[in-house]
Symmetry: D2
Subunit: 139 residues, 4 copies
């Protein structure tokens, strides 16, 4: 944390104004912190594009547990990817609906494939892959 570098950024007044408005709304303490987050976000995207890098993602699924064999299908599929899926949190949303949040770690390509398979399963009402990071290359 000792070697902080400062660099200048030039942009139009209009763009800066829009940016300031949004970061104030989001509660950032400074422009620098907001810019750092944009840079980190870009690095995370890159981590996911590189084939060999290990990364981390969450897969969110909403489904009706009463749909014939759906719960079993999803569990079986997850068991094929033991090495990637760290844990799954299941929330009973109501009498019918379940939320499952899987946390996966591995190559981006593999996590994407698992997410595609689960989300495209018939009966899954809503599914999303959230790409995050191991944090190793971010400071």
């Amino acid at each position: 944390m000792s070697d902080i570098i400062r660099f200048g950024v030039s942009l139009s007044q209009k763009l800066l104004k829009s940016f300031d408005k949004i970061i104030t709304k989001k509660g950032y303490a400074s422009r620098s912190e907001a810019i750092r987050d944009l840079i980190r976000e870009h690095l995370v995207d890159t981590e996911w594009e590189e084939e060999k890098k290990e990364t981390v993602g969450t897969i969110t699924l909403v489904y009706n547990h009463e749909t014939r064999e759906l719960g079993e299908k999803l569990t079986h599929e997850q068991h094929h990817h033991l090495d990637s899926i760290i844990s799954t949190t299941h929330i009973h949303l109501d009498k019918h609906n379940c939320l499952e949040v899987l946390i996966a770690r591995g190559k981006g390509k593999e996590i994407k494939a698992i997410a595609d398979k689960l989300i495209s399963t018939k009966g899954v009402k809503h599914g999303k892959l959230t790409m995050t990071t191991t944090g190793k290359e971010l400071t």
Copy 2:
């Protein structure tokens, strides 16, 4: 499930070709299933735009637990939103990095505000809000 309706969709051959290519890659069994997912996704987005509707989201955070008081700050902030945050899963990624996945339920606006506050906290390396749904209005 008894009252299934069929309707036609007209589009250019080129657009259909691109669509077929991507849904095959994602493993969809049929165009209808893929179209249904697009429609549901659109409904989820709408659920989040409406002020009064209850919805569900996950907030993903990556940070270094050694950063001074960061862990405590994040925990304190979460305790201010007891009624919205159902559970938080914490994964120890390595000696330094933590992943936290919060599951929140409430009005979209409120979950967005919680996410903004947590993600913009200094020291959080990466953060994302994933908007999903209670599933109530999707079939």
Copy 3:
């Protein structure tokens, strides 16, 4: 934390020796801290015996997800107790075995009934109810 009270405890040298040995092994910094834990443990047990008090427990289940309809049965049963079960974490132990850890909140009697029902389900290899507390009456 300002009103700390000290009181004396008399016991045989032999009993004290055994106690000191075990608390040293467990890493307690002082006898007082170990005694406080025993007292709290006793209060938690009492919390669970009282019919009307709200309390917190975890239910741990190990089962083979390939057992016919077992996963579905367990999920269905949990959905009958939406108001008590906060979240369920599912770990894929190996190709066959699953660990589920439910966190429940409610009256002790009700949580015990849910645990009994789930643990006694045919095909569940191992199950345990862990009684903990809301922490409200402990300092």
Copy 4:
């Protein structure tokens, strides 16, 4: 599941009566299922006594997140045992109290040591180790 063996058990009428009463209350469908659970429970205990066997446990902690540095201390300690702790679920019980449920996998001795260290930390109101199993040697 094809090679089911039956064996007889002899015991006093009084003991059987007590046993039947308790298993009926717990909802077991048959004496055999209840006996199988007792045998499995015994095997799990043995798994935990053997030094070299891999096993699974949960560690439950209740504490006040406002206690100075307590949350950080617990997180730091957990990061020293990355290889054993699979995931930690955190529930915000109220403004002050937190529940953490850790899922750990490794040698029984090591999991016990982690549990002892965390539970004996000053400020932890209630802590428990629940010994369960990988399920590998149970059918």
